[in-house]
């Protein structure tokens, strides 16, 4: 990935000290600190993906679209501790932001998909508690909409198809890149600059929150406390059970704890139970509540959590120790985190604003029109 880190701006902002740390802040994927790189896209494919993203007909009962939970005005998350999920179900995890998701190395809080957004799109649309769509039916719905017939052709995908959807939505997601944060512009406040030094220094946040997106895309156990709402609400708990059953989690009826990325690694000694992918720190002002289970409502709570050395878990990463940050240091750290948020990705560039029909047009000369 090409860096577009503009060192002159950072220097102008007086954070020259950061430069020396860049090596340490480079992620496993080689992503460097600085603005999140924009990705080249094809306009016709983006437009198609954008319309699909906002189209409720992509869910089984046509009740929800991708944008029902990934709301542009909320940083493409939903503002809820735990996601709403498909009608008849309720989610057991926090909806993650989709901003910068095209740069990720793995997706979902448990990292269970590590391939590409094409697979992620398929997973989201077909998973029964997410959009519960039989993609064969979806394809035929799209073929019934003349606008899609035209847009798929213009995108070079031929007639509307599942494969085309799985390409077009990722193409749209590639446009959701953070931009114009004070950090990127080299215009951080004094407090944020001080917070940045704490972030990379004494607090050690950058051990995991590294690179342009401030994540190493790796899994860690920080001992995030349980969200009891998952087990208190049968509809959330039932969704967890369905998920755990499908993912091959042992003893899934009796556990009251999200095993996280254990579903990916299945470590025999259980040492990966309770690990989750490091989330991005971009756009935090738009994307609370925080953590995989939305257990913290504010950044203050998050910083307090780490200041106390994280939570209580036998598998907790040993690097998490009490930080003993002063009130001022914590305030500065939060100022820095806030200045990692940029322009909201709203407006016609990111949002399909024209009405999308909920019904379908009849093919008039049906008998003589090839299917």
């Amino acid at each position: 990935m090409m860096s577009v880190f503009r060192s002159s701006r950072l220097l102008r902002a007086g954070v020259a000290a950061a430069i020396g740390m860049l090596a340490a802040l480079t992620t496993a994927q080689g992503e460097e600190l600085g603005p999140v790189p924009q990705i080249e896209t094809e306009a016709a494919r983006v437009e198609l993906g954008k319309r699909l993203f906002f189209d409720r007909r992509l869910s089984g009962d046509a009740a929800i679209s991708c944008a029902s939970c990934h709301i542009p005005e909320r940083g493409f998350s939903d503002g809820l501790p735990l996601s709403a999920a498909y009608p008849g179900s309720l989610g057991f995890r926090n909806t993650p932001t989709l901003i910068n998701s095209a740069h990720r190395a793995a997706w979902f809080h448990d990292g269970r998909l590590g391939t590409n957004l094409n697979d992620v799109t398929r997973e989201m649309i077909t998973e029964d508690y997410l959009m519960n769509m039989d993609m064969r039916l979806m394809q035929e719905r799209l073929k019934q909409d003349p606008v899609y017939v035209e847009m798929f052709a213009a995108a070079g995908y031929g007639e509307p198809s599942n494969g085309g959807v799985r390409k077009a939505i990722p193409e749209y997601l590639k446009t959701l890149i953070s931009r114009n944060s004070l950090f990127d512009q080299g215009a951080m406040s004094d407090a944020a600059q001080s917070g940045f030094a704490i972030f990379t220094g004494v607090a050690g946040c950058s051990n995991c929150h590294s690179g342009a997106r401030f994540t190493d895309d790796e899994i860690h156990n920080t001992g995030v406390p349980d969200n009891p709402e998952i087990w208190r609400d049968p509809m959330r708990h039932a969704t967890f059970v369905a998920y755990a059953m499908f993912m091959g989690v042992e003893n899934y009826m009796n556990i009251r704890r999200d095993p996280g990325a254990h579903v990916r690694g299945h470590a025999a000694d259980g040492s990966d139970i309770g690990t989750f992918l490091t989330p991005t720190l971009r756009e935090l002002t738009q994307t609370g509540p925080y953590m995989h289970n939305g257990v913290f409502a504010t950044l203050e709570e998050v910083v307090d959590f780490y200041n106390a050395g994280g939570g209580d878990d036998p598998n907790k990463d040993p690097r998490l120790v009490p930080l003993e940050l002063s009130k001022q240091q914590r305030t500065d750290l939060i100022a820095f985190l806030q200045e990692l948020s940029g322009d909201p990705l709203v407006g016609p560039e990111f949002v399909w604003e024209e009405p999308i029909p909920t019904e379908y047009e009849i093919i008039d000369d049906w008998r003589d029109t090839p299917n």
Binding site: R57, S59, G60, D61, A62, A63, Y86, P87, G88, S89, D128, Y129, N132, D134, R136, L137, Q139, E140, R141, K143, Q144, W231, R232, D233, P234, M235, H237, A238, T239, V241, A242, Y243, M245, F246, M253, N254, R256, E359, Y360, E361, I362, I363, W366, R367, P370, N371
Partner: protein
């Protein structure tokens, strides 16, 4: 349409015509006679118990056995609509429409195979097909099974009936099948008559019976205690009008072609339901559907696999004209020929067909227990 396949079909038809014409007279004598309906067969691996039937009754009405918890078995098999659905095509999952007519549950216990083209071999396997199909229940095993665990009354009943530590979805289908085996009707006017009550049928119905077993020869397919030979025929039932008039039906029609696994070539050109073909992939099976029972049909309009006819008179008139035309008419059975029945005779025949139905079967809709949080395993 399907011109490439016509040649093969014609030669098959040639044979089909030659043989039955010779055999017709003999065959009609060999038709199993109409008979009173006895008790339904109970599979050895799913015996009836009161608790299982009660569990099945609850599950049959429970919308949580569907994708978005809005669609139960009873949604499309509504007891107020003959345990079927009173529209040409079944209503389907929200956001969709189904593509075939919903069949009654009454007496489904006696069929060897279920669905219009016989794609399910038992009630136990019919139930999940319906609950999981994208245009029916659109449920998925994991979510449905998980939901059951959060209903304490179900936990108890599944334990009692099946010994399940946690309710298992396969057992839900077994319980529903057991409940469905109680939805039978064995005391229709025809049953009473055939058991010796000579007053059970009216004069008109007796005249209709004579036509049924004689000149109209309905009995060549509608025979035996269930009034069906459970074989598959193409009668030339015209394609569903909905496919020309309803965009959602057009979507589902194409979806079904993909779901049933036709070739792309056929997917592009087909415009009618190929029925048995989807199972056998034999061109000669295109447009064939299983002979349905005539029992309980008083309450199950509209009729035919696509609900093409809205009352029994229309159905009889269709046969009186010698059947119809559809896309697969090459496969049309030659057992159907114009009958030349008078209007009075048609009425007599309809009156007799009504004798296959007794009083409407209604049951109490169960009160369904709500979800409850799961007790802690430590408690």
């Amino acid at each position: 349409m399907l011109k490439g396949k016509r040649k093969i079909v014609i030669s098959a038809i040639g044979l089909a015509i030659a043989v039955p014409l010779l055999a017709l007279q003999a065959a009609s004598d060999e038709n199993p006679p109409l008979a009173p309906l006895g008790d339904p067969p109970i599979p050895l691996d799913n015996p009836q118990t009161d608790e299982k039937i009660e569990l099945g009754r609850m599950l049959f009405f429970d919308t949580r056995l569907g994708g978005d918890a809005s669609t139960a078995c009873s949604t499309c098999h509504n007891q107020e609509q003959g345990w079927a659905f009173s529209d040409d095509l079944s209503r389907g999952y929200p956001g969709t429409v189904h593509w075939r007519n919903s069949q009654t549950i009454i007496n489904s216990a006696y069929y060897g195979k279920l669905f219009w083209a016989g794609s399910a071999g038992s009630l136990e396997s019919q139930a999940p097909s319906a609950a999981k199909g994208a245009v029916a229940g659109n449920g998925e095993n994991d979510v449905m099974e998980a939901r059951l665990a959060f209903i304490p009354e179900y936990r108890e009943l599944f334990d009692t009936v099946f010994g399940d530590v946690w309710p298992r979805i396969d057992n839900a289908w077994r319980a529903i099948a057991a409940f469905e085996r109680t939805l039978v009707q064995t005391d229709t006017p025809l049953d009473l008559f055939l058991r010796g009550d000579e007053n059970a049928l009216t004069e008109q119905q007796l005249r209709g019976r004579e036509l049924f077993e004689g000149r109209a020869n309905c009995i060549q397919c509608h025979n035996g205690a269930m009034a069906t030979d459970e074989r598959y025929y193409n009668l030339g039932v015209p394609p569903a009008l909905r496919w020309e008039e309803d965009a959602a039906a057009q979507i589902t029609f194409r979806f079904e072609q993909i779901a049933k696994g036709v070739t792309e070539e056929l997917y592009r050109e087909i415009k009618d339901d190929a029925g048995l073909y989807y199972r056998t992939k034999e061109v000669s099976d295109m447009g064939k559907f299983r002979t349905p029972s005539l029992r309980y049909t008083l309450y199950t309009a509209p009729y035919m696999h696509n609900g093409a006819f809205w009352d029994l008179t229309e159905v009889v008139e269709f046969y009186n004209e010698g059947g119809g035309e559809n896309e697969f008419s090459e496969n049309r059975t030659d057992l159907i020929q114009p009958l030349g029945l008078s209007d009075d005779e048609i009425e007599d025949l309809v009156a007799f067909i009504e004798a296959f139905s007794g009083p409407e079967i209604r049951i109490e809709v169960p009160t369904l227990p709500p979800y409850q949080p799961l007790p802690n395993p430590a408690d």
